[in-house]
Amino acid sequence: MSGGLLFDPATIRALAEILRDTELTEIELVDKESRIRLARQLPAPVIAPAAALPPMAWAPAPAAPGAAPIGVPPAAQVPDDEHPGLVTSPMVGVAYLSPEPGQAAYVSLGARVEQGQTVLLIEAMKTFNQIKAPRAGTVTRILIESGAPVEYGAPLLIIE
């Protein structure tokens, strides 16, 4: 959820054009510090988007005019879906970061958590389920907005 693009827009545009002009559906560039992946996405957005686009949902990027719609995950880091500290959703529902609206969030960026500590809630069928930290560590990324719909396996946060 942090920072701007580390690759300049012209590079991204060039990559998008390569995608469009070839049979490729995905291009990934990696160097020492950063990684960018462009994918040509078939129609399905994963979930109905909330008011602010959740960072991990595919969305058409403001690409060069005429480029095919592409999804660009937040650049720079190891792809979140491969991070060893990733906590994913065990159920389908709506995720909330705090126990009740207006109250402080369970955890914030940089917070230390114990194993088994509640880090967020997922509401499904009018039942609120506490999602617990699977291991002790530091919350380095929060990947959803409070109130975001989540599917099974959706990335929630990263605890390192």
């Binding site: 399905a44 994963v46 159920m91 389908v92 499904a124 099974y152």
Partner: protein, 450 residues
């Protein structure tokens, strides 16, 4: 109330089938899927998708909470359950309706009624539909079984009330064998269904399996779309189905159809359904009703020129059928081959990556399949990977078309039952339409014997 967005609570070829019908009607689709089905064709094509769980069906496609949650977060207003999975789960249908969603199918009450095979027979008996002779309900004691068996005469079948689809049945060919059958059937029923209630029927030794497709709207209109002959079964699993049956004529179909539609009108049935009969010596005997769309629905569609899934969607939206029985015409003959990811001789499952996939084409050829080159058939679900359906002006033409299209079809990389279907279509008895429900097992055994 027109449907806006349908959640497809299923997978594989039927999920794609439902998506296609919705798409053509301008209805948005939500594909729910397990992790291993994330790259399934219908998931890619659907307007939205939600991963609902890991591969095991009980954690995903049978996970009612996950499916209902997915409907909530996507704002779906209706759920189509397909076949199998939750399609005949009355509790699920009830929950769907309790959540103010439209369940695309019959009422929970009728699902429950027909799911209890004894209650189903009772209902049909009261409604005047012909039945297999047998006990009037569950058998309370072995003595009762003995008395009924003597009345209907051996051989007899002891069947689980909670069974269906060929499960939970034991034959007794003589009175001396009855006690064993009684005890075994109840023990197996208890283990498999949690309910040891059994009933008794006369065992028909060389029946055909003939079923009738029905459709009812919410305005009291009920029609039938003719019969399908599904006698070619192995271990109670259908492999090849035909519309119409090689042994019936229009008069037989009309007579049975009139009886059945009258019964269902009285019952107040809603949406699609299929009544299954055993047919022997010119007599029909009701065995069970499936309160859902069936795998083999395409053969009916080809002969009647109808889209049954669209009709289900229309009925669910509250629309009247808009036609009556006299508007339904039967043209030509259709045959379906269920192609599974199994070894054609041992029937060992053969999941894995499909290499080259080439579907046959041409006039009167339809393939309902979610396959594509590079698709990985997962091991967690049933093995059906494609339905090859052909239509011809006559049964002979349909068979020629079937032979030709089976020869064109290519599914590389995994074992499939294509070779078995190619052998069936060459068989003289199949070509003559001369088979009963025992035929295919004998045919398979004959091939294995060498």
């Amino acid at each position: 109330m027109p449907l806006r967005k349908v959640l497809i609570a299923n997978r594989g070829e039927i999920a794609l089938r439902i998506h296609r019908a919705c798409q053509e009607m301008g209805i948005a689709t939500v594909a729910v899927h397990s992790t291993v089905d994330a790259t399934a064709m219908h998931v890619r094509l659907a307007d939205e998708s939600v991963c609902i769980g890991p591969p095991p069906a009980r954690d995903s496609y049978l996970n009612m909470a996950a499916i209902l949650s997915a409907a909530a977060i996507t704002g779906a207003d209706a759920i189509h359950p397909g076949y199998g999975f939750l399609s005949e789960n009355a509790d699920f249908a009830e929950m769907v309706e309790a959540h103010q969603l439209t369940f695309i199918g019959p009422t929970p009450g009728h699902i429950r009624m027909m799911g209890d095979k004894i209650a189903a027979k009772d209902a049909m008996r009261r409604l005047g539909v012909p039945l297999v002779p047998g006990s009037l309900g569950a058998l309370a004691t072995f003595e009762e079984a003995r008395i009924v068996a003597a009345e209907v005469m051996y051989p007899v079948l002891i069947k689980a009330a909670a069974g269906g689809g060929g499960r939970g049945m034991k034959v007794a060919r003589a009175e001396s064998k009855l006690e064993d059958a009684w005890r075994l059937a109840r023990a197996e029923a208890k283990a498999a269904f949690g309910n040891d209630e059994v009933y008794l029927e006369k065992y028909l030794d060389r029946p055909r399996h003939i079923e009738l497709q029905v459709l009812a709207d919410t305005h009291g209109n009920v029609v039938h779309f003719g019969e399908r002959d599904c006698s070619l079964q192995r271990r109670h699993q259908k492999l090849v189905e035909e519309a119409g049956s090689p042994v019936l004529g229009p008069a037989d179909r009309d007579a049975l159809g009139a009886q059945v539609t009258r019964a269902l009108r009285e019952l107040g049935y809603r949406n699609a359904g299929t009544l299954e009969f055993l047919w022997q010596d010119g007599q029909f005997a009701f065995i069970e009703m499936n309160t859902r769309l069936q795998v083999e629905h395409p053969v009916t569609e080809m002969v009647c020129g109808i889209d049954l899934v669209k009709e289900q969607l229309r009925v669910a939206a509250g629309e009247p059928l808009g036609y009556d029985q006299s508007d339904i015409r039967f043209h030509g003959h259709a045959i379906e081959c269920r192609i599974t990811a199994e070894d054609p001789e041992s029937f060992a499952p053969s999941p894995g990556r499909v290499g080259t996939y080439h579907a046959p084409g041409g006039l009167g050829v339809r393939v309902d399949s979610a396959l594509y080159s590079g698709y990985v058939v997962p091991p967690h679900y049933d093995s059906l990977i494609a339905k090859l359906v052909v239509h011809g002006g006559t049964r002979a033409e349909a068979i020629a078309r079937l032979r030709r299209s089976l020869a064109e079809m290519v599914v590389d990389g995994i074992a499939t039952t294509l070779p078995l279907h190619r052998a069936i279509v060459e068989d003289a008895e199949f070509q003559a339409g001369d088979y009963t429900i025992h035929w295919l097992e004998r045919f398979v055994a004959g091939r294995q014997g060498g």
